[in-house]
Structures are given as structure tokens and as C-alpha cells.
Amino acid sequence: MAQQSATPAATTAAPPSATPAGGTPVPLASIPPASAYAPPGAFPPEPLGFYTDTSVCIGCKACEVACKNWNGLSSRNGGVNTLSGDSYDNTRRLDGQHWRHVKFIEQFSEDRTNGRWLMMSDVCKHCVQAGCLEVCPTGAIMRTEYDTVVIQADVCNGCRDCIGACPFGVIDINPVNNTAMKCTLCYDRLHRGMEPACAQACPTASIQFGPIAELKQRAQARLEQLKSQPRPESRPEPRLYGADESFLGGLNAFYLLDDEPEVYGLPNHPALPSQHLPANVGLAAVGAVGVGLLGLLGLRKRRMDEFAAEARAEQISDRGATDPGMTLGSDEEAPHA
């Protein structure tokens, strides 16, 4: 199969090297590599991912079906059995029970005599710097030995922070187990040396699976091929999205697009949630100091006013003592003027 080039690890996973007995300190070099812990037959631990070539997607949704099938996700669409009215897309979006979603973009003239379809099988991008993982307060979201991002359903408590943190709107709550869920890049299959179900099902090799370094080379070659073909002047150039490190350290599920990212519902400059924190925290900290100072000034002013009032009262009583008949003293007598 052309798109499965990563090889199972049965032969490559080195066994742990012998450790010296008798309590002698273990030299670092003798600690077994991560691959030694992988189950037999698993892919060796290296960054794995998807390269999705949208230019050959035919919108068959085999990936959606294979994903649901393998991962035991409900195909009842959350009980929604109405048509969306949005082209051929009735699953509508990625969420807790749709881990693959084929988008249909219709670019047609008014009378539909002229135009084209764009189709794209969307999925979790397994970001190298993942916003979901960053904010997760329970540690439920982890990075695997394949540099992929997986949510542990038995740890997640459903705070939903990851949903708003993902720059691509990938995660949502799965109504069956009430925890946040998304694509795992078939972590269980990788441990058996099997490629993810969607990539295996894709009949046009639009979804390709393998080691990231190799996928990038393939994507680059395809991009050059497409660029060398004639295309209408008005049509934007094809491009790779997420294949370099220009945002989020790169995406382990990256795309070849035939138009601007926004056309496919992808943000132009996706950001890590923590990027927004320094300015926010800095301003709040300045505000906290400012409010504290205002409070201190207020208390000081109050004390000054009290002293002044006491002084005035003393002054009056002093005058009263000198001349019991007087209620107001003359200026010469004011001791603290």
C-alpha cells in the first residue's frame, strides 16, 4: 500500500540493554530506549502523522465511516437526523463523536455553469505545540511516543477548557461517556503496527499516513507538481498548511490546500492559548498593584483627615479653656495653624 510507509517495530525495537547488577549506578546510556516499552509489533517511536492532499479528495466519506467503525463512535449523529442544507455535509463539524469530517466547499458562479468543488477531510492536527494539551488541568491530554496528542477518557473530567483552547475547533464532549474526545490517530492501531483506519480506507490516497519527515517530502513533491500545471490566473496558488514550523511548531496532520486556508475553515495564524496570557496577566498585575495603592492612599487620607479634625477639636477646646465664654478663638491663639 503506497501510503503506509512506516514499518512496524517488531524488528527495530531494541530490547533493554543489560543493566549492571548489585546496585551500581546505571549509566544513562544503558537506560532502555522508549521503543523497548512499546508492545511487540508497534511502530517505532518517531513522529507519525497524516498528510492530507485535498486536491485528490472525492468526498466519499469512507474516512468518516472507517473512523466511526474502528473507534466505536455512534453513527446516530447525536440523534440529529435532519439534513444540514450545507452541500453534501450532514455531519457538519468535528466533535466528540465525529473525529473525521469531510468538508464540502462549493465555488460556483451564480448559474452554476462554472466552478469547482473543494473537498477536505478534516481531523485533529496533532499540533507539535498543542493548545488543548497546554490548558488541560487534569493531565488527561498527553503527548504520545509518536508525537501525537491523545485524550485519556478515564482521566478527563469534562471541564471543557480544551474545547475553546483548540485553535481549529476539533474537540467536543462525547455525549456517550461525557468526556472530551477527538481523533487519537488510532493510537491503539499504531501499537499493533496498523495504520489509522481513515488512511487505510481512503481510496484516493488523499489521506496519507507515515513518518512526518517522509510525508513532508511527499507533500513538497506533490506541491511542485501541482504548481507546474496550468491553472486559471484568478485561482490562488496551491499551498501546504502546517507542514513547516511557522505556527504551533508545525502540525503532525498537515494539508495540501488548493485555496486560502480560510476557504477551508482553517485559521490563518492559529495561536497557542498561552500566547494571550502575558499581556492579560501583566495588565491585571499592574491593576492589582494600582488598586492596592489606591486603597493605601485612601486610608492615609482618612487618617490625615482624622488628625486634622482632632487638631481642630483640640484647638477649639484649648480656646474654650482659656476663655470659657468664647466658642471661636482668634487667629493669634491658634497653636497649630
Binding site: T138, G139, I163, P267, P270, H276, L277, A279, N280, V291
Partner: protein
Amino acid sequence: MLELLAQAPSDTFFTHSPEWGWLIVFYFFLGGLAGGSAFLAGMLDLFGVAADRSMARVGYFIALVAIAISGPLLIIDLNRPERFWHMLIQSETGGLMVKWYSPISIGIWIVSLFALFVFLASLGALAELGKIPEASAALARGWLGKVIAAVCLILGLMLAGYTGGVLAATNRPLWADSPWIGLLFLLSGVSAGAAAMLIFGWGRTNAGSVAWIDRMDIWTILLELLVLIVIAATLGSLLGPLWGGVWGIVLVVGVVVIGALIPLLFYWRPRLVGRWSIPTAAALVLIGSFLLRAVIVLSSERI
């Protein structure tokens, strides 16, 4: 839908809403109020005079009640409430769960420690009032009382402000688009704390303390209005989608007019509606503070 996204005014429009609804709005409001009142009580304890102690006690009691209500709100809002402890203890290893770069993780520790310290401060206050055995009064006196007051002051400010950080550390419209939300929540929390202290302490505590709290409320309301203007002025093309509809009306009528301008008028002219001007103003401030959280949270949620 994809055609609409292609013209989105910000990358934050490509994301999904975490569906933080009214429970979270209530939590943000009560958490801010608790933090604000503990901060003000701590200020009075540390830098005020002996006569301020009665108002400080009111502040600690308000903070304790508010955090006791708001903590459970956070738990109920989880999709799996029985697993709330996963935020404090790693469910797999039993170790402490702390992630310094996750505002929710830090926030959970702020809330927990805050609850502990306002509880201690309230015990001291109750002992002073003779409601519980005298021994606990040590919590309100000497260096121990000062330490507890200082921790309440600092954690109070952090509690009032961290919720803005929780919203900022997302990729959602408004929350991630404006860096001013943390400061706005902090000011609004202190203002709400002051208002609650005025309602419960007015007529029962030292007039000097009431006057200082009243002043603090005026200052924080003015600053809050200023920050709101800055936010609105810097949102640019986001302003329409966010506040063009019903939430814009709630913001102007509920937060600015009812929750800020009318209270300012009442504070400025305390005899305007008779002797009830001050508590009325404070009640309006609380309404405004609640509506502010609703506008900030829910106007983004619907996108």
C-alpha cells in the same frame, strides 16, 4: 457556514465554544466578589485602625459565604463532577496536579487556598464576636492574624483576576482577542466586594470604614468604565458580531448605566434618594457586576 468563516474578523472565529454558561457566569461573579471583599478586609486589617475591624469581619464573612457557594458551582458545571478531584490530584499517580501554565489548574489551587484562609479568618472573627470558643480568636490577633490577613489580601486579588486569565488562555472570540479582560474582572471583583461590604456593613460598622469602602467602590467603578471603553475601542471589526445585538444592549443599559453610572451618582449625592442611597447604589453595583460577567462570557459563547 464555511463561506461565513472565510470572512471571519479574527482567527478566534474558527474555534468551538466550550459552552460555559450561566453556572460559570455565577461562579465568576461570586468568585470575584469573594476575592474583592477578602482583599478589602485584608487591607483594613493590615493598614487600617482598630475601629476598622468590624468592617473587616464583614468582608471575611462575605468572602467565605461567596466562595462556599461558588466552589460547588464549578464542580456541578463539570461533565463528570465525580472526577473534580482530578484537578487537584493526579488520578493515575496520586501526585499533586499542578500545571503553572494552565490558568484553570492554577485557579483551582487559588480557590482552594483562598477558601482555607478566609475560613481561618472567619473563625478568628467569629471567636472575637463570642460565637465560637475564645481559643480561635488567636487567628485574628498578633502576627498570625496579620499573616492570615495578608494571604487573604493577595489571594483575594488573584481570585478576582485569574478568571480573566482562564478566558484569555483559549482561542475564543473576545476572550483571546482582548488582553484587558483579566484587569476588567479584577476591578469588577473589587467593586462587587466593596458593594457587598457596604450592604452588610452599612449602619453596623464604623463610619470611617464605610467611607473608605465607598471611596474604593467609586474608584474601581471609574477604572472599570475606563477599561470597558478601551476594550470596546480596540475590538474593531469584532465589535459588531460580539456586541451588535442583545449583549450590547445589556452592556450599555445593565452594566454601564444601571451598574455604574447610577451608583456613581448615588455615591456622589448620598441624599438623592434618602438614607437608602448607599445600599441602593451598592445593590446596583452587584447587578452590574453580574451582568458584566454574563456579557463577557455569553457574547463570546454564542459565536
